[in-house]
């Protein structure tokens, strides 16, 4: 338990009015390598979580994570309140403001101005590392399923526990008793011997003057009161009556509306523009050439869209005007072939000597898989509202990285970062897309060009055609089985490696493994898509291991299980899914089950998918999920994330394809970039295993296993092996979007 408390430091202060403020700094296990040297070198850390206890006993958890629907804010508040022994009804949260950037010295300065006494230990961080780190990383990112496993474990719990200890010490002092005689319970402190009791608030000011314990004792799981319980999410009531203000709903006085069309081919620019008709339309304010896009600013959005349609743009020619999906996949294959022939690929993982085993074997099993680009299609189309005045720029938007947006907008407008304010809104979906600041920059440029507040909304077509796509990948395998049918050698070569580094690696005990990759860049912009590289490699590796099981004449569940003797957690998750699904119960004609196992973002997930394939029509009947995230802070929240991740993954597996034609994206809206809908959605059951091992993430790990489990089920049901996504290519899926 001491492992992470050593990695954190704690600071306190007294707010005006006698409220206690406790902050926790921590060294995040951030996957961003740029940050590591800054943190490691200086012994300084990032301020990451705060708790405020007011005189009314109200507990406010100040949370640096953004809400895009995953329920992270409620779970984080639960973690803090539990360690504090607060009464849940007294707990509320606020999202850390981005304009006084959290994890940034200006936030701390803001508190200083409000009367907080910043201890020397924090000042060092505030002025040194935090400033540098902020500048280098613009770090306030929600992604990597980090909320609970990093902020929560290392920040919120420590902040709550430290505050609790200080309140107890202050009470002991006030009552002249030993603090060991005191209990904290439901937001009150009680003295066992005398039955004396008082609310936390009574001791908040005194507690704020104490030195915090650098390593407060955290609760043992058996003492958890809030963690591990499903609490109604604090953000949900505003989401059932239309009152929640998403960024797309934000308004300011005098605001105008903008519609935009960007160059269809990535990298093209505006060569010529004919906008006379648009400018003559009543209510049109301006037509703005943004170099790689054209926007119309008007009195309302519909008018802006209508006017935009009348603007004739000639786009510059680029080297990519003749690129197509098939051409790019041919390029992948040729580059991989070249690397294979020349031995010039990059090694990713080597164990034993897979190449020698394969080279000497008579019977080599070879398979090739591929997946296309994918768009995110967040339900809320991309948008931002911006206002530029003499004092700076304000942007209202939903961002997975508000601090990064602030710096990106500042750079684009050549402003000092302090002069950019991001007003963060809850997001109508993020999935990785809202970590990119492109639309915020466009809105800011339009606001400056017109000298008016401008709300820019992308059409769905813009959203589909100008995403940062999940990259298309070609992945090839070779394997040799031993006399019992177990894999003796496993070789995998694929194009382009991104994050997380372990995504292509298998958990199975295979003595000879060689994983390598070939760089084969394309002009298509790419970025993080829910579960990042796990979404592609989960499909590849879990399909191939399934094929090996069938080649060996073995049951695909038993086959995996036998190769997991060294990983009991993985095996327990796999077993749970198989048992809950009734793996050994035969299914009728045309029906089949498929299984998958994938560890991602610290969480292990097994999925069993049941399908029916009849008359060329595929139905996904049921998905059983077993998940070990270490500990489920909010079981219902974890289940919701699994349901969500599974549907996201199935949608992509069934329908998801972004294709490139003449250098541009062909699809444009939900009619040709389809989504799974309720009429074809399976029943999903989730089974939680609390192994109490390292706590993992929730937002992403449900996604990667659903495509391979589905493909494996289709094979079991029909003998059709899916090696290319989406499955709609196989004419099993009636092509209704």
């Amino acid at each position: 338990m001491g492992k992470w408390t050593r990695r954190a430091f704690i600071t306190t202060g007294v707010l005006g009015g006698g409220a206690l403020l406790v902050g926790v700094g921590l060294r995040m296990g951030n996957r961003n390598e740029e940050l590591a040297p800054l943190v490691a070198g200086r012994g300084e850390q990032l301020v990451n979580a705060w708790v405020k206890i007011g005189q009314d006993n109200a507990v406010v958890a100040i949370i640096p994570q953004c809400e895009m629907g995953q329920g992270a804010q409620t779970a984080l508040a639960q973690m803090l309140a539990d360690e504090l022994d607060a009464r849940w009804e007294d707990v509320s949260f606020m999202e850390a403001p981005a304009e006084d950037a959290y994890a940034n010295w200006s936030m701390a300065k803001g508190y200083a101005l409000a009367g907080v006494n910043i201890p020397p230990i924090l000042e060092g961080s505030v002025n040194g590392l935090l400033f540098q780190a902020t500048k280098a990383m613009h770090l306030q990112t929600t992604g990597g399923s980090l909320s609970v496993r990093s902020t929560g474990v290392y920040g919120m719990r420590v902040a709550g526990a430290a505050a609790r200890e200080m309140l107890l010490a202050a009470a002991a002092d006030a009552w002249q008793v030993d603090s060991a005689e005191l209990d904290a319970r439901q937001g009150r402190i009680a003295h066992r011997a005398s039955n004396r009791e008082a609310p936390f608030a009574e001791f908040a000011a005194a507690a704020g003057r104490l030195s915090p314990n650098a390593a407060p004792t955290l609760k043992r799981p058996e003492d958890f009161k809030l963690m591990g319980r499903s609490k109604p999410r604090l953000d949900i009531p505003a989401k059932v009556d239309g009152s929640l203000v998403f960024a797309i709903d934000a308004t300011v006085n005098g605001m105008k509306h903008a519609a935009i069309k960007a160059a269809p081919v990535f990298g093209a620019r505006v060569a010529a523009m004919e906008d006379k008709a648009a400018r003559q339309m009543a209510g049109v304010v301006d037509v703005v050439n943004l170099d790689d896009a054209v926007a119309v600013v008007a009195d309302n959005y519909w008018l802006a869209e209508q006017a935009l349609k009348s603007v004739r743009v000639t786009w510059s020619e680029t080297d990519n005007d003749d690129r197509s999906s098939e051409g790019i996949f041919k390029q992948f294959a040729a580059d991989m072939e070249r690397d294979r022939a020349g031995g010039t690929s990059t090694e990713d993982l080597a164990r034993g000597d897979a190449q020698a085993v394969i080279g000497n074997a008579d019977n080599v099993i070879r398979r090739s898989y591929r997946v296309p680009w994918l768009a995110h299609t967040c339900m809320e189309p991309m948008n931002a509202l911006a206002r530029v005045t003499a004092s700076g720029c304000e942007v209202w938007t939903g961002s997975q990285n508000p601090l990064g947006f602030k710096h990106a907008v500042a750079e684009a407008l050549e402003l000092e970062p302090e002069r950019v304010a991001i007003h963060q809104h809850m997001m109508g979906g993020g999935f990785g897309r809202r970590s990119r600041p492109d639309v915020a920059i466009q809105a800011a440029r339009l606001a400056r060009a017109t000298n008016l507040p401008v709300k820019l909304i992308w059409s769905r077509e813009e959203d589909v055609r100008h995403d940062f796509y999940r990259p298309a990948v070609l992945s090839e395998f070779r394997a040799v089985l031993d006399e019992r049918g177990n894999p003796l050698a496993w070789e995998n070569q694929f194009v382009d490696k991104h994050e997380p580094v372990e995504a292509p690696h298998i958990p199975y005990d295979v003595p000879n493994q060689y994983v390598h990759f070939t760089d084969s860049p394309t002009h298509v912009p790419f970025g993080a898509w829910r579960s990042v590289d796990h979404s592609q490699h989960g499909f590849f590796t879990e399909s191939f291991i399934d094929e090996l099981a069938y080649e060996a004449g073995r049951d695909p569940y038993e086959y995996r299980r036998d190769l997991l003797a060294h990983l009991p957690r993985h095996r327990a998750v796999l077993d749970k899914a198989a048992q809950a699904a009734g793996w050994d119960q035969p299914l009728g004609e045309g029906r089949g089950r498929g299984i998958s196992l994938q560890q991602s973002f610290g969480t292990i997930v097994a999925e069993v998918v049941e399908v029916t394939v009849a008359d060329g029509d595929l139905t996904v009947d049921r998905v059983v999920v077993a998940v070990d995230a270490g500990f489920a802070v909010s079981p219902d929240g974890l289940k919701a994330q699994m349901e969500s991740g599974v549907i996201y993954g199935l949608t992509a597996a069934l329908y998801g394809e972004i294709s490139i034609e003449n250098g541009a994206v062909k699809q444009g809206n939900f009619h040709d970039y389809g989504a799974l809908r309720m009429d074809r959605a399976p029943v999903i059951e989730t089974h939680i295993i609390n192994s109490m091992e390292h706590w993992g993430g929730a937002g992403e790990p449900g996604t990667p296993g659903s495509a391979p489990a589905l493909a494996n089920a289709i094979y079991a049901a029909s003998g059709i092996r899916i090696r290319e996504l989406p499955i709609s290519r196989y004419e099993l899926v009636p092509n209704r979007a």
């Binding site: 309302n300 519909w302 489920a632 079981p635 349901e643 809908r677 959605a681 609390n690």
Partner: protein, 169 residues
């Protein structure tokens, strides 16, 4: 000048008759609970009621509904009291990001108004026009089912996986 009855209020506006109802609601009447998701009647985010039936506001020219009764998510509840469906949405912890949910609730409300006790397949078919990119179809279905079955919509942690399956590993 176009006249509409929106959430029981008569409103008159000087807007072009071919302007979609969605943008009239959002940009003119500042009723932003109705969402834009696709603009081509594919996603259901913009669902409102026209005389009690669900329609897609993004493809409904405002001129075509002049003088008719429009209900939006803001007009669904009477005063502060949430409708049973809205309560069920909370009880079943339906929303993730929440962006699609105005449309989902409007579609579900229209369904139950026309068919108070739909079968499971009828629910699935009736709701197929509403996309939820957060994938909350199972919860939406359960919430509708609960109201159709007359279940009292109260948050019950015990029914929501509160049981802790602790396994020390």
């Amino acid at each position: 000048m176009i006249e509409l009855i929106v959430n029981d209020q008569v409103v008159r506006m000087d807007v072009p008759p071919d302007m979609p109802l969605l943008w009239v609601l959002r940009d003119h009447l500042e009723l932003t609970g109705t969402k834009f998701g696709c603009g081509i009647a594919q996603c259901g985010a913009c669902t409102v009621h026209l005389d009690g039936s669900a329609i897609r506001a993004c493809v409904t020219p405002v001129g075509s509904v002049a003088g008719r009764r429009i209900t939006t998510i803001e007009g669904l509840s009477r005063g502060d009291a949430l409708t049973p469906l809205q309560q069920a949405w909370i009880a079943h912890q339906v929303p993730q990001c929440g962006y699609c949910q105005s449309g989902q609730i409007m579609s579900a409300t229209a369904l139950l108004a026309q068919n108070p006790n739909p079968g499971d397949d009828e629910i699935r078919t009736a709701m197929a026009g509403n996309i939820c990119r957060c994938g909350m179809y199972g919860r939406i279905h359960k919430a509708i089912r609960a109201v159709a079955d007359g279940a009292v919509a109260i948050w019950d942690p015990a029914a929501q996986g509160d049981a802790r399956e602790v396994q020390h590993g």
